[in-house]
Symmetry: C2
Subunit: 237 residues, 2 copies
């Protein structure tokens, strides 16, 4: 059911002519506008169509259902975040672990705060759609980029960089989410960035120290398993 649902979220048909391409663009823009001006509960297919200057029928020609509209808006946002993270990671390659960590944290926070209103509105949307394939896929991209960058650090050798990156990014997203939920201002974002840098650096230090030798029973139990069983990417449901 899950994969089928996710697939169904994609646009119903590709626009073949310039006219319909503009229509789709207008609809997606309308979704974001209605989301920001009226809020998610008031986001109605009729209202979106009205704002986009088309009829409901047209809307349903390109999107199979209301969720697909939100999905499209979420897609835009996540694409932006992923691209920003990938760029930051590529640029930080080969520098010290400390620098790389800072670059990742900064890029993540910057990407989320650049379109703060949209990001906040979409946090709810993302949850309503469930932990969609889209969110997972974006997570995978970001983790891959971060792992590549961190593995390139000259002054750090992690036993399991994949897991370390998954842990760090989950922690980062947790803090970012909290600041959003608390309606944080610029000062809160600065503080979050500073704390996240300390957090990640401390974690990497500790991992490099404690990681290699099996510390307790659970860690050892997992170490024997295949990569698929890691916290990281969702290789399987």
């Amino acid at each position: 059911m899950d994969v089928a649902t996710q697939t169904a979220l994609k646009p119903r048909k590709k626009p073949r002519q310039a006219r319909s391409e503009a229509t789709v663009e207008a609809i997606v823009q309308a979704v974001i506008q209605v989301l920001l001006s009226d809020g998610a509960p008031r986001l109605t297919t009729t209202r979106v169509a009205e704002r986009a200057g088309v009829s409901v029928g047209t809307l349903y020609q390109y999107f199979p259902h209301k969720q697909a509209l939100l999905y499209a808006a979420l897609d835009r946002h996540l694409e932006g975040v992923a691209v920003a993270l990938e760029a930051a990671c590529a640029q930080a390659r080969g520098r010290s672990a400390s620098t790389i960590v800072e670059a990742i944290v900064d890029a993540y926070v910057a990407a989320k705060t650049a379109d703060a209103a949209g990001a906040r509105a979409l946090y709810r949307v993302a949850a309503e759609l469930g932990a969609s394939e889209l969110v997972k896929a974006t997570g995978r991209r970001i983790r891959a980029a971060a792992e590549a960058a961190l593995s390139s650090a000259a002054d750090l050798r992690l036993e399991n960089p994949r897991r370390a990156v998954a842990t760090m990014l989950a922690a980062i997203s947790g803090l970012v989410r909290t600041v959003f939920e608390e309606d944080g201002g610029a000062a809160d974002w600065r503080a979050a960035r500073a704390e996240l840098t300390i957090l990640c650096r401390g974690y990497l230090d500790a991992s490099a120290r404690d990681g290699p030798r099996a510390e307790a029973e659970p860690a050892a139990a997992i170490r024997g398993k295949s990569p698929a069983r890691q916290i990281g990417p969702g290789d399987s449901p």
Copy 2:
């Protein structure tokens, strides 16, 4: 609008007789059952009433709207988590920072995984309700408990324990959320617990080391502000 909305989410009237008390109980149970068996999208006021063995009218006598139903179910879950965390923190008082950290992580994960199906279903519900007062209030309780415990550690003196606790708990909830989203199994939960312990210990080490001296511009800028401007509790919207 926010506070008013949140207030309106509470039950409409207190049950005065034993009969109605049973009715409310039946309705809340029905919400959880429908949520688990039919899923959130199929959760209908009629369906809940039917499952509870009452009419829609009765349902609306105690809950002002559908969201209030979900709110009540979420309330149950969060209450359980908060109580568990408070107990764990109280019990760990006075022990080493390392032990306390472990206790907090373990209690958090245990509370969430004890009712994994319910917790997962409610993660979405919580988002649909927005970052409700309820979620924030529970966060405040947990942070307060954790701060009290950590401040009691003999081997640790943090400059800003409130912020440190807020950071740690946000990171923890981020990792927990990720494991849920990835549909993690028992091995993933064990791995998450281990990583979280390393993460938090490393963070506290680093905080105690780097914290006291102003490291960069942003940290210093915040340090001068009032406690209300911290990442932590949402003292104001």
